[in-house]
Subunit: 207 residues, 2 copies
DNA sequence: GTCTATACACCGATAGAC
DNA sequence: GTCTATCGGTGTATAGAC
């Protein structure tokens, strides 16, 4: 009995083309905003004719959908990776969680808009594309839960705060860190209010 | 010498038509979002042919521009009116200021997007339309200044907080008050951190 | 000031040949 | 799977008659 071939060259090529299309779409979005992504422009960039794209995606919204899913899967991967090395103390974890989200969101405006700002009319993510988003929320909620932030009102304040910082950073200082550096202080206010234990800072060498 | 006529019927009619155009534009925006405002649709609603709109506005962006200016002048009026009856104590003033902004912003999603969320490509407000926006910032900054919030970092935390609450409210509970009711608590955290004096609540009749 | 007619540049999507 | 050709629609804006 001969082993089935491990690689399916045809499928590989198909997926390579899909990736190429998505890469071009991201490139366009980064240059001219999400709404400037058009089938014509995608096709031009990858040397195709616009109708050929329909062999790979059922519609333009299907492309947005794939981008949406990809973005959340990427964040999920980052979140899992970073969460493994979060500090042990509650306040440190809180800051680390928020900073992980903040950095991911602010590092790519158009991706953030696609993920978190419903700005594309007549685009609604499919259930499949939405799944990794739900998984991210689960991870974040469980981290906050461990810390002791369980009440809905407390979670709501946290999300408003994190989202507000991201938006201000992107809107008013997109290349800087004006709000990023304030994040720990803002979170410590919340931590104080919730009575999270303060961990004495690790003693440093003298002075 | 005959007194000049107080009313210019021609000008009045012109401005009435302008108002009619803007009213139709807002109506469309409220129903289908800011980007769904088109000259065709405006013209249809007021019983005109699309090209006729050019007798009143130089371009579509000129219409957005007028809407932008109108929105900020409206907020300025609300702000001046409300500020006259803000409480005397710093914490009360802080909450009143933020609530005034919050209520105005959340009461009209499309207006908020036009004012605060740069989401229309190739639209930049003219200097004239931007002026009332600057005046609003002046008023808000001066209120915060009286309270004792003067450092840029403190102002930045305030704006991130206020903006974050507005966005969460509009995105996740547009018809409710889930974040509105949390606003005083969130602001008291900031007030605590800044050491704003706490005013003993006015004694009420017994228990 | 408003109209008709039209120019012009886009867009997403489909049909059918190869 | 990719192509050519094309459909049917969107939009802003201009020219010129009335």
């Amino acid at each position: 009995m001969v082993a089935a071939p491990k690689r399916d060259r045809k499928t590989e090529r198909r997926e390579a083309t899909r990736r190429e299309i998505l890469a071009a779409a991201w490139e366009i979005a980064h240059q001219g905003g999400l709404t400037s992504v058009t089938l014509r422009e995608i096709a031009t960039r990858i040397g195709m004719q616009p109708p050929s794209l329909y062999s790979h995606f059922a519609s333009k919204n299907a492309i947005y959908d794939a981008m949406f899913g990809q973005a959340w899967r990427d964040f999920h991967a980052v979140l899992e990776r970073e969460a493994a090395s979060f500090p042990a103390d509650p306040r440190g974890r809180l800051v680390a969680l928020a900073t992980t989200y903040f950095d991911f969101a602010t590092s790519d405006l158009e991706r953030h808009q696609l993920m978190d700002v419903p700005m594309l009319r007549d685009f609604t993510p499919s259930e499949e594309a939405y799944r990794p988003a739900v998984e991210c929320y689960e991870v974040m909620r469980s981290v906050l839960n461990e810390i002791g932030i369980r009440q809905q009102a407390d979670l709501d304040i946290y999300t408003a705060l994190a989202g507000g910082f991201v938006n201000q950073q992107l809107a008013n200082d997109p290349k800087g860190d004006r709000w990023r550096v304030l994040l720990p202080r803002a979170l410590s206010l919340l931590a104080d209010d919730l009575g999270l234990p303060v961990q004495a800072p690790t003693p440093r060498s003298k002075k």
